[in-house]
């Protein structure tokens, strides 16, 4: 089985650190790449290999925000099948509806408890990576 690869798109260093920490707790074999904004994510998708199996996407970011980035991913033939998990501080219903309509697979509000973060990520990974 080939190594799983996840791309995290988030401009917040603390959140990056927590995310990577949690991933290490869950499964050390998963390769995690980080992009600091939407633009960097698109560039990384085009230039780096392997293509990620799952993308975690923050919404509020400089340069290119999560909505624009999501739209771009869903536009490109090569990437549109990659499941995108919106990973945000937002708890607003309309943000959830909008992104799910745009093609996002999940909407995960960043929890404020580390164990909860691990639980949520484990659940999502199980669902999204089980077939791979």
């Amino acid at each position: 089985m080939k190594a799983q690869c996840i791309l995290l798109v988030d401009d917040d260093e603390d959140d990056q650190l927590l995310f990577l920490d949690a991933m290490r707790e869950i499964d050390k074999s998963i390769i995690c790449c980080v992009a600091n904004d939407g633009l960097e994510a698109i560039l990384s998708l085009h230039t780096k290999s392997p293509v990620p199996d799952l993308i975690f996407l923050d919404l509020n970011m400089p340069k290119m925000n999560g909505y624009q980035c999501l739209a771009q991913i869903k536009k490109e033939m090569m990437f549109k099948e990659i499941p995108v998990v919106i990973y945000t501080t937002s708890r607003i219903e309309s943000d959830r509806d909008r992104t799910l309509k745009m093609g996002a697979s999940y909407f995960l509000t960043k929890p404020s408890d580390f164990s909860e973060l691990i639980e949520e990520l484990t659940r999502i990974l199980k669902l999204e990576l089980k077939d791979k």
């Binding site: 927590l18 920490d21 501080t89 960043k110 929890p111 404020s112 408890d113 580390f114 164990s115 973060l117």
Partner: protein, 548 residues
């Protein structure tokens, strides 16, 4: 027998003659008394009519009983005859009038007039109005003078009392003056127009009336306005559509009120047109100041709206941005507690737990603040809502809490009320969860919810509605209650009656309730008895008054 007959004949003849004499004497008496004007004397089978000089006695009676004054005066002005009416008019006896100079009864102001009328009358007739005076009483009269020459060396006068007529005229003119003064004393301009029609179509108006204020505002004199054409006096009226407005009122017979800006300046007028005859009465008043105030108010309202939006967005992003670092603190703390716990001393563990609970309390505060600020900003759309359904949803929302505390919530027959459903749902949730939270130890909470129609006058406290009737929805619990003196305070933001260690709470929940009730133009109050329970009453207007 024959002698007797002759004697008898004489006697009969004497009796006959005596009868005729008595008849003649009676006639003379009658003539003397004026009871007979004329009599017929028969001769040769023909009747001759004899009128009598004294027959004019009838006319004397007529003149005497006239309800007009009648006098006869000599060339020198001495009154030689006065009927009853005249001397009574003067308030004098017959004797005081007869033989007196007419001049004595003529008001000094009228003497010249009278003398010229008198001179004219010597040559025939004259008529005119003068004033008489007697016993300090002035009597306006109309006199008609006729010379009685050559039969009599006198002038006859018929005098008509004009007092009543003059009084009527004065009353009429007083009434007119009064109306004019009323129209003068208002600060409203008043104009009245009469339609000028051509082929039955209104082509213009004649200005029939303009009060002083109206003239002042038009900067024209009465001569320039009254009787003149509307199009001449107000040449711009047609252009600015005013003429059509006036025309419409005459045609439809429906009064209209307009706010009109002067075409010459920044002045505003409130103009009312009311149909009158085949025209209108136009009343106007300057409202420039009100307009200015309205504009200021409108600007202020916009400003307020703007600053409300700004405040809402500020408080939203403030709370939102505050949450971010807080979330990280909490996550890192939980991460450390999860992974490094075994390396901590007991006191370090305690401190970390304290950081964690402080952060979590701050999270609750921020959440509550966010929800408080949202009750101000989210759309306020009223729907007729069945409160039984709201209660059902509330029970579902609080399901876990109700179960854990074995709470009993009794409530049915709640009304359908025009409310903002989401807000009322939150109101119910806050009050019910509050009741459960502040339960007595070892006593299962029981909350009874009742609805009752009450009259506005029975509600103590400020109402945001002029509705006459309200629904009172009361939530009575059997919890710890509170001291009555705190009844007012508990709805204030961050107001807490209990220490943080006894009961968790942000001090925002009931403030949100108050806000929601205010949004519904209603009222909320609470009564408590320590150790017995508390009752929260919310009052919602029954008709859908939204104004404040």
């Amino acid at each position: 027998m024959k002698e007797t007959t002759a004697e008898e004949n004489y006697l009969k003849r004497i009796e006959e003659l005596e009868n005729r004499l008595a008849e003649a004497e009676q006639l003379i008496e009658a003539i003397k008394a004026g009871e007979v004007d004329a009599f017929a004397v028969r001769s040769d089978n023909q009747s001759e009519i004899y009128t009598l000089q004294s027959g004019d006695y009838a006319y004397r009676i007529l003149v005497e009983n006239f309800s007009e004054g009648a006098i006869n005066i000599t060339e020198e002005g001495l009154i030689v005859y006065s009927n009853k009416y005249f001397h009574e008019l003067l308030g004098l006896t017959y004797e005081k009038v007869i033989g007196t100079s007419i001049d004595e009864f003529i008001h000094p102001e009228s003497r010249a007039t009278f003398h010229s009328l008198f001179s004219l009358a010597l040559d025939g007739q004259s008529k005119g109005e003068i004033k008489l005076i007697a016993e300090n009483k002035v009597i306006p009269v109309y006199i008609s003078l006729t010379s009685l020459y050559p039969q009599l060396p006198t002038v006859g006068l018929i005098i008509t009392d004009l007092t009543e007529k003059k009084e009527n005229e004065k009353a009429l003119s007083d009434a007119k003056n009064f109306i004019n003064n009323v129209l003068k004393s208002t600060n409203h301009g008043v104009l009245s127009y009469l339609a000028i029609r051509e082929n039955n179509k209104i082509v213009d108006f004649e200005i029939r009336y303009a009060n002083e204020i109206a003239l002042e505002q038009l900067r024209l004199s009465a001569q320039e306005v009254i009787g003149k054409r509307y199009s001449t006096v107000m040449p711009l009226a047609k252009e600015v559509g005013l003429f059509d407005k006036v025309k419409k009122v005459v045609e439809t017979r429906i009064s209209q009120t307009h706010e009109i800006k002067s075409p010459f300046s920044e002045r505003w007028f409130m103009v009312q047109y009311v149909p009158l005859d085949d025209g209108v009465t136009c009343t106007f008043v300057e409202i420039t100041n009100q307009k200015k105030q309205e504009k200021i108010l409108e600007d202020k309202n916009k400003e307020l709206e703007h600053s409300n939006v700004e405040l809402a967005s500020f408080s939203y992003s403030a709370s939102h941005d505050l949450q971010e670092p807080l979330r990280k603190i909490r996550t890192f703390v939980s991460r450390i507690l999860l992974q490094e716990q075994q390396n901590f001393s007991e006191s370090s563990m305690d401190y970390f737990s304290r950081i964690s609970s402080a952060a979590s309390r701050m999270q609750n505060l921020i959440d509550a603040l966010l929800s408080y600020s949202r009750t101000n900003t989210i759309e306020r759309i009223f729907f007729p809502t069945d409160l039984n359904n709201i209660l059902k949803d509330t029970k579902e929302t609080l399901g876990e809490m109700i179960e854990q505390n074995q709470a009993v919530i009794e409530g049915s027959d709640l009304p359908i009320v025009n409310v903002i459903p989401l807000q009322i749902q939150q109101l119910f949730t806050n009050i019910v969860s509050n009741a459960i939270k502040y339960k007595r130890e070892n006593v299962n909470p029981v909350i009874k919810i009742n609805a009752e129609r009450v009259s506005a006058i029975d509600i103590q406290g400020e109402l945001g509605s002029s509705a006459e009737e309200f629904w009172r929805i009361s939530f009575a619990d059997n919890g710890i209650g509170f001291e009555p003196q705190y009844a007012g305070q508990i709805f204030e933001l961050f107001q807490r009656l209990h220490g943080k260690n006894e009961y968790s709470g942000t001090g925002i929940g009931l403030a949100i309730c108050k806000k929601i009730v205010q949004n519904h133009h209603g009222h909320i109050n609470a009564y408590g008895k320590p150790g017995v329970g508390a009752t929260f009453n919310i009052f919602l207007p029954i008709n859908n008054y939204i104004e404040k």
